[in-house]
């Protein structure tokens, strides 16, 4: 049985439709990334799932039950993009408060709070008032309050955006550990992170789902052979001219020139490699880099979203 099924969910704000009848299902366990450009409707969708916003139409069912019941809210952990806390409370007081509101008794709430604060790396700072926290600390606190009651479904809106590389690494590791028992839906712009920790992707654009599937499926569908050719900049401009000329070859599907580097999406890697290396050798082009690889998730994102 699926953990979460969303059917024809839509949200209108006056005349503007932010989310246009989207439907998807999330299986238990595993991590799904909600990708999309700014204004695609990711945050609105997450807030509807969390129960903060009521949908204009459509339904959200968790294990078959309507989510308008209050009892299932304990199964959900939500982290907004810019979490706000009571500045006059200490971090620990807040997490204990959150645990209490989720139904835990006094001692249990304190114990669980200490555990989760340790896990997100805030045990030292938890004794200080939240008004003195940095942005990264607030985001970690947000993660702590989303996890303290051991939810089965985690809804995270840009969970790593405010963190430095070290913090990012810690949170990604934490998410990897959580994947076993928890269903995670996270929205992000950082496609590399989505690739790393998620196994399914849902892409939104202007309130509609434009692409969805597992990473493997999407790779097979969109990944294309990509040649990266970088030349030394020579005063006569011969190398640059040669790069330009590559554009019109028959095997080149897509061409992009960035300074001294050309990115060629080709239809046949074998032919392309042979032809280009031969030319480079015979014309003694000052090759700096020749890389035969594949288009990344980011390229797919740009293509699907930009079209």
């Amino acid at each position: 049985m699926s953990r979460l099924s969303v059917t024809q969910l839509s949200k209108k704000f006056g005349t503007r439709t932010a989310v246009k009848e989207i439907s998807f299902e999330l299986e238990e366990g595993g991590c799904t990334a909600l990708l999309g450009p700014n204004g695609a409707g990711k945050t609105t969708t997450l807030r509807m799932l969390a129960g903060l916003l009521s949908p204009t139409s459509g339904s959200v069912l968790i294990n078959g039950k309507e989510t308008s019941e209050i009892s299932w809210r304990n199964q959900i952990g939500y982290l907004p993009q810019h979490p706000s806390f009571y500045g006059w409370m200490t971090g620990k007081e807040y997490v204990v408060y959150a645990a209490g509101l989720s139904g835990m008794t006094g001692k249990q709430a304190v114990a669980e709070a200490e555990l989760i604060l340790e896990r997100v790396g805030l045990s030292e700072a938890s004794r200080r008032r939240i008004s003195g926290y940095s942005g990264g600390m607030k985001q970690r606190l947000g993660l702590a309050q989303a996890l303290v009651h051991h939810p089965r479904l985690l809804l995270l809106d840009e969970p790593v955006s405010a963190l430095d590389p070290l913090g990012r690494r810690e949170v990604m590791d934490l998410l990897q550990q959580l994947r076993q028992g928890t269903t995670i839906l996270l929205s992000t712009h950082v496609l590399h992170d989505a690739e790393e920790v998620c196994d399914r992707i849902i892409m939104l654009r202007s309130g509609e789902i434009v692409e969805h599937g597992s990473l493997a499926e999407l790779s097979a569908k969109y990944r294309q052979p990509l040649l990266t050719i970088q030349v030394e900049s020579d005063p006569k401009g011969q190398a640059a001219a040669w790069l330009h000329s590559l554009q019109d070859r028959s095997f080149v599907r897509d061409f992009e020139l960035r300074g001294d580097t050309a990115l060629l999406t080709v239809s046949d890697m074998g032919i392309a490699r042979e032809v280009i290396l031969k030319e480079a050798g015979s014309r003694t082009m000052p090759l700096l880099r020749f890389e035969a690889g594949a288009t990344s998730l980011e390229d797919m994102f740009m293509k699907v979203v930009g079209s």
Binding site: L52, L53, H82, Y86, A98, L101, S102
Partner: protein, 258 residues
């Protein structure tokens, strides 16, 4: 119930830590105590200023205890209400616009529990402030001007407390539906209009909450007890419940921002 208590405790802790539980009672006490003090020392003050001739000062009427307490009550209905509404305008609106309400309402917390905890927290502040202030005023009046019979004083005070609960409920409802400053303006306008209308045509509005004020004054002033205020009390309490229910309904319907 447990959750409501938890949120109520958080409200009290917040008022302690941001010193609201200190300065509002202090201002209320000052409001109450200045009346008996200035009434008592007014002749001396005037004499010290040397402006008025001695005979005029001597013939100055010395206010009796009931008169002083009436003045105290009128201060409450003016400055006291102003303070309550302005200090309470961000009761719910502050949490909604600040985004802190989101992380609370995403948990298994009913909007009604949230609203009741907020109301109880703020009304506790009002009760503490009023009791301290009214008690101090009564004490100083009994020292300086004479004792007002405590039964009457208690009746008048009780009626004013019910009036305050009306103001608190109204302010909270406006705070849930509107932004902070708009909530203050609307609340004050409604209370002002109610008081004004009652002042102009008391017979028509004998059932309204504003009638509580005149009844309270009547307890202190007249030798005989005024008419039974059961109807205005009942109406006021019903209105309070209505406002609380309306706040809860509005909160549930709103999109909570974070």
């Amino acid at each position: 119930m447990k959750i409501t208590l938890l949120m109520y405790r958080k409200e009290i802790l917040e008022m302690i830590r941001n010193y609201k539980l200190l300065w509002i009672p202090v201002v209320f006490v000052l409001l109450g105590v200045t009346q008996p003090l200035t009434s008592f020392y007014l002749p001396d003050l005037l004499q010290a200023s040397g402006q008025l001739p001695a005979e005029l000062v001597d013939s100055f009427p010395v206010p009796g205890p009931a008169e002083v307490m009436l003045k105290v009550l009128s201060q409450y209905s003016l400055i006291g209400i102003l303070l309550i509404v302005i200090a309470g305008m961000n009761l719910v609106a502050g949490e909604l616009s600040g985004g802190t309400a989101a992380l609370v309402l995403v948990r298994p917390v009913k909007s009604t529990q949230f609203i009741i905890a907020k109301w109880a927290g703020y009304f506790s502040l009002v009760v503490v402030s009023f009791v301290l202030s009214y008690g101090s005023a009564w004490y100083y009046t009994s020292l300086l001007q004479g004792t007002v019979p405590w039964r009457e004083a208690l009746a008048a005070g009780g009626l004013y407390l019910i009036w305050f609960s009306f103001a608190v409920s109204l302010t909270m409802m406006c705070s849930t539906v509107l932004r902070g400053s708009a909530a203050a303006v609307v609340s004050l306008l409604v209370i002002g209009a109610l008081s004004l209308a009652h002042g102009l045509v008391p017979s028509w509005l004998a059932w309204s909450p504003a009638h509580l004020l005149t009844t309270a004054a009547g307890h202190l002033a007249g030798p005989q007890a005024p008419a039974n205020p059961a109807v205005p009390i009942a109406i006021t309490l019903m209105l309070c419940i209505l406002f609380i229910a309306a706040s809860s309904w509005s909160l549930r319907r709103q999109g909570i921002s974070d």
